[in-house]
């Protein structure tokens, strides 16, 4: 009776459907789907595909930035006419010149700021979907300690950085721009100092977060990676030693399972990295071209017009540079995390 019952239970357990665990990267967000149109086989192939799709974006972005720069140049040329005037008339015309430049540049700069915030939000949201998959894949490969530690760090830093950028750094860029226009118009040195301070806060916040995060990941990778590798090795030796006859076969089979998990994890990681680059590349091109064009226009305006007008334009280009730094930092942070997950248990 006992035997029949045992056989029945065994047969029932065999009837339960079982699937191999599948790890799949989340779909590319809508903003990046235009750049990653097909599923690439390798990272370099995917990167080439993204670049190929991104190159045509340069021309419209360039035309948009050129129109803005032509408007600025018109104001700078007019201000060149009054460059030699002495006294109060010159001062008031400088105020008007700075206000005009602010009127021309504030709207596109605001659009770029919103674009940067949106990109950071999308990258962060994609990371929230990708990292649990990578964590599960890394855990399946034997990196239970590493995956947990890295997931906690990545999620915490990503949340901190996104929140910091939206609530502190982006308002700081607005303050920087307002101070720039005011100091261009009035020429007070205290405004110049405040402007430099707001820029310093933005750059150092980003640098500190990136340094701390990469440092933490390096230490976590070394410490918990070694612990996980030792645990996997110990498990293999135990299996091959404890289970008689077939122990070494089970141990070899587990090695195959681990290698498969590693392959799946790497495929998910590569696709995830490409998806992140696809989300980031469009805004990078738009903001980057505006940054370069404003830099060139600022230099030209400083030459033909007054130094203060040129400085206001340069400050707007600096703000675009700060936005590039923000989006770049978030993207780089997530890419480093994916690479650390891919490195896994060595």
């Amino acid at each position: 009776m006992k035997r029949i019952l045992f056989i029945m239970i065994l047969l029932l357990s065999m009837a339960i459907p079982v699937n191999a665990m599948e790890f799949k990267a989340p779909e590319v967000p809508e903003s990046g789907s235009g750049y990653l149109t097909e599923e690439p086989q390798t990272f370099s192939e995917g990167l080439a595909l993204i670049l190929k799709e991104a190159v045509p974006e340069i021309k419209p972005s360039f035309l948009e930035a050129s129109t803005i720069c032509l408007r600025i140049l018109a104001v700078a040329l007019l201000m060149a006419l009054v460059k030699s005037l002495p006294g109060s008339t010159n001062e008031i015309l400088h105020v008007i010149g700075s206000v005009s430049i602010a009127l021309i540049l504030l709207e596109p700069s605001n659009a770029m700021l919103q674009l940067a915030v949106e990109t950071i939000r999308e990258l962060s949201d994609y990371g929230k979907l990708l990292f649990p998959v990578l964590t599960a894949a890394l855990a399946a490969q034997g990196g239970t300690t590493t995956s947990g530690a890295m997931y906690v760090a990545t999620a915490a830093v990503d949340a901190l950085l996104s929140s910091l950028i939206s609530n502190v750094l982006v308002p700081m860029v607005y303050i920087f721009l307002c101070l720039s226009v005011s100091s261009g118009a009035v020429g007070e040195s205290i405004l110049e100092k405040l402007k430099a301070f707001s820029k310093w806060i933005v750059t150092w916040s980003l640098k500190i977060i990136l340094y701390v995060f990469t440092g933490y990941l390096t230490i976590t990778g070394v410490v918990s990676g070694s612990a996980d590798a030792a645990a996997v090795k110990a498990a293999k030796i135990t299996i091959s030693g404890v289970v008689p006859v077939v122990g070494s076969i089970i141990s070899d089979a587990s090695e195959t399972v681990l290698v498969s998990a590693d392959l799946m994890k790497n495929a998910v990681g590569v696709y995830g990295m490409l998806a992140m680059i696809a989300v980031w590349i469009g805004p990078f091109i738009r903001i980057g071209i505006q940054y370069l064009m404003l830099k060139a226009t600022g230099a030209a305006a400083e030459m033909i017009s007054t130094k203060s007008i040129g400085q206001v334009i340069q400050d707007f280009s600096t703000a675009a540079g700060l936005l590039l730094a923000m989006t770049g930092t978030v993207c780089l942070l997530l890419l480093i995390s994916v690479i650390c997950f891919m490195k896994g248990v060595q």
Binding site: T67, L70, A74, L78, I96
Partner: protein
Amino acid sequence: MSDFLKAAVAAVITVVFCLIVSRQNKEMAVLLSLLVCAMIAALAVSYLSPVIAFFEELKALANLDSDFLEILLKSVGIGLLAEIAALICSDSGNAALAKTIHILSVGVILYLAIPLFSGLMELLSKILGGA
């Protein structure tokens, strides 16, 4: 270039004449100076007209708002005129008038620039409201 040379020579000759005339008749010296200033200003305006035409081209190319450019051009014009008028007043010994002209020009330029300031305020409130 030749026009500029003529204007420069005329200015120097006028200075010499004014110095001679001012000993007997100061009013005549001021009038002479005013006349030559007006002639040189007219010459400058004739040179500025192609510059303004270039601005019109730039305006079309850059989709620049006409009202915006008009305000800027008027402000610059007032600034230049005020400076010339104030210098003539100073030369004729009327420093108070020169100062008043400066104050007037600043007032008029600020009055003209009100749409620019209100545009900036509107834009800022839109941005801050949306942020």
